[in-house]
Amino acid sequence: MIVENAANLRAGYERLENVKVVQTRVQHIRDTRASLEELEGPIREATTAFGLIRDRLPIEERIRLTRRLELLAGIIQRSEKDFATHPRQVQNLISAENTVKAILGEIDQAWQGYARAQTAGYWDLLGIVRRLPDLAPQSAALHQALVAMDPPSQAAPRGDARLRAFDDGLGRIRDRARAFSALPTPVLTFLTLVAQEQASLAHLTPEVLAWLDEHDYLSSFDVRFAGLV
């Protein structure tokens, strides 16, 4: 009895130990999968967002973000390789998670730069034309279109719909800006320089002076000595 029971007990201990080892390994595998599942969303966000906007970005920005995504893919590939021998990959995947979060921030930043560049000229135009009372309705319409569009501080589009909405908004801004296309170029140049406080009397050409007189804007301007405080 004692010999058989003792042999069974030893076998039981070994089985229990093996089961605990397997149990621990299974838990490690589950932890890894949970980390992967947490990681999947941000990675899809990043790759999708980059895929959507990459053609709109400057080449240097594209290369930089591409390398960042390659780095991220490399971390995950190494983790997949290590997983065969070390089933708990949580630490490696935390590193991947931090990387993807940083990349998403960089994509958003790149997008914001692009978006600002797309609307900056129209904001400048608005800064000029809003000073012209007889163009007030057109200025208000342009202002509305600029404000209605996604503010440039927003994140990069994660889907086609938001990108289309951005492009539609940009289209509306262009349409509203066309209301000012009747302005002669010298007048527009003069008004731009005035808005930038860089206009001189030399810019006040006869053509510009005539246009301002015709539209009864002469009383809207002061003449001062340059450089005086």
Partner: protein, 298 residues
Amino acid sequence: MAPAALGALERLLPLLIENRVPGRSSLPTPTEWRQELQAIKRRSPTAWQEVTDRLWQRVEPAALHKTLRASLNLARGGPRSPEQSGVFLDAATALDELEAFQADGWQLTGFDAKTDGWTVTWAQLADAWRILARFVPSGNAEAAGRLLEERGRLDRVMGTSDEETVVGAIGETLQTMSRYQKPNQVAGAGRLEIKQIAEARRRLRAVCSAAGRGDVVLSATLAVSKPTIDEVSATVAELTTFADFVSNELDAVEAELARIGVDDASERTEAELTGTAYRRILGAFPSAAPALTGEGRS
């Protein structure tokens, strides 16, 4: 009865009588001791038992054991040969004769044998009597019953295994427990030795065998075994404790295994699911990263 044993017993009984008659310095003739014995019996029907009890109280167990071995097994032709000492008792024969003596109700009917030529000193007779008096049954049944139980326990614990296998199994089990850092209260079993268990089995077998041969043989066996009985009990107790511990621990381990219920299949399934998750995530990259890789390197 064998003549030698009869002669010895015949000469022992005068000592009993002598104890009742202080100052007696020579052997009585058979007729004299028979007369004296009859006188004792007439004076007191319980004389035999009284004298036996008195002798019993005077007996030191350790000295008895020593003298038993020296006297009962005194070899013919040895330093104190029967020719010289006048007493020779073959142990096995003496025990058989005592058994028969007991079966006759301790009657002296068999003591008519010729005893001519026997020369015994009183001291030798006293020694021999003390030894034989030790065989008067007293509480043997209880002791034997306890030892029979011990034998039963030992047989149950050991099953059909020999001592070497049992000691090996104990050692391996204790090592396994130590390797897996299992607390135990049976480390003492690791000190059990093969010869110790073998001796316990041998002793218990002897007692069981003697128990089947009658009270006198059983008494003699118990007397001989007495100093080691406690060791035998301790050995059996150690083995039983270990066996019980192993049995309980085995139940606990099996229950734990049943409760956990994890198998290798679940590990494979989990690993496959995780491998799929890796491939799914890496698959998200080609739409952006690989296509751009070339661009990035350009």
